[in-house]
Symmetry: D3
Subunit: 62 residues, 6 copies
């Protein structure tokens, strides 16, 4: 702990995920204290057909 | 906000997801107020081997 | 199944939650089929200090 | 209810998922009471590139 | 990993939570392997007004 | 999107939550692109009796 669940559109590179995990862990320790080893980051790649904002699926948005 | 996470068996059509997102957003605004643009709907397609009820996986149920 | 997790600002009345659960269940069955008894709705009341959009906590927003 | 969400590395067999669902349902009823039919278990298979501990993605760890 | 999120009605004792965490961890290691130290169990106490099945809030059910 | 759900022990100050939301939003935009306004951060304050690691509740750990 703490645990971070990240939901984002699918299609990001492993390198982006690598950097995101590093940065979230760094700022987590910086702000909340604790050790980096206790920080978990879980990423969910979400298809655009599975995410709607304002009632519209993102696969239908330009 | 509000945010709706929907877990359902995989296999639904994009059209069903489209209608579900529209309807959830509509009833959300109707009951809770706020604007449609603030409503997020995230859908998770769950495999039947990943969902158990009463201790039985749904891929094992008739 | 399906299961709906709803995250919304704390402060809604039980009556609003009652109506929201009814409406989500109704539109779920209407769009996805299945029986109402299989539909679960779980609500999370979120404090404004625990929700940020655009980097700002909602307890800090007018 | 209760509902159990399990996040684990992808790659487990259906047989492991079958046993896990059975065992979680059994211990749930044993400890919390209630009927097995009310217990839901949902499994998420997580790619190693989507899980980081200590700031490192598991796909980068030996 | 794995991580178990448990949603259950509020009102369970700390002793029940203690036993549930022990048992889930035990069966997790038994079925999936891995070490107990890697297993996380997070419990959410859900008010009956925040959980609906079949469109009815559990605070309204006998 | 993206959406960040943070689970952490209860007891953090609003100021820590404020800084955490700012920092997560900043690194999210920096690594993934997109606009800050699209980034949502939701925090869950978890009681130590509701979080177990290695089968032990954190309220039982020194």
């Amino acid at each position: 702990m703490p645990t971070y669940h990240v939901e984002m559109f699918e299609g990001r590179t492993v390198e982006q995920k690598r950097r995101l995990a590093e940065e979230i862990t760094r700022v987590s320790v910086e702000v909340l204290g604790g050790s980096p080893e206790a920080v978990e980051v879980l990423i969910t790649d979400v298809k655009r057909e599975n995410w709607a904002t304002g009632g519209k699926l993102w696969c239908d948005q330009k």
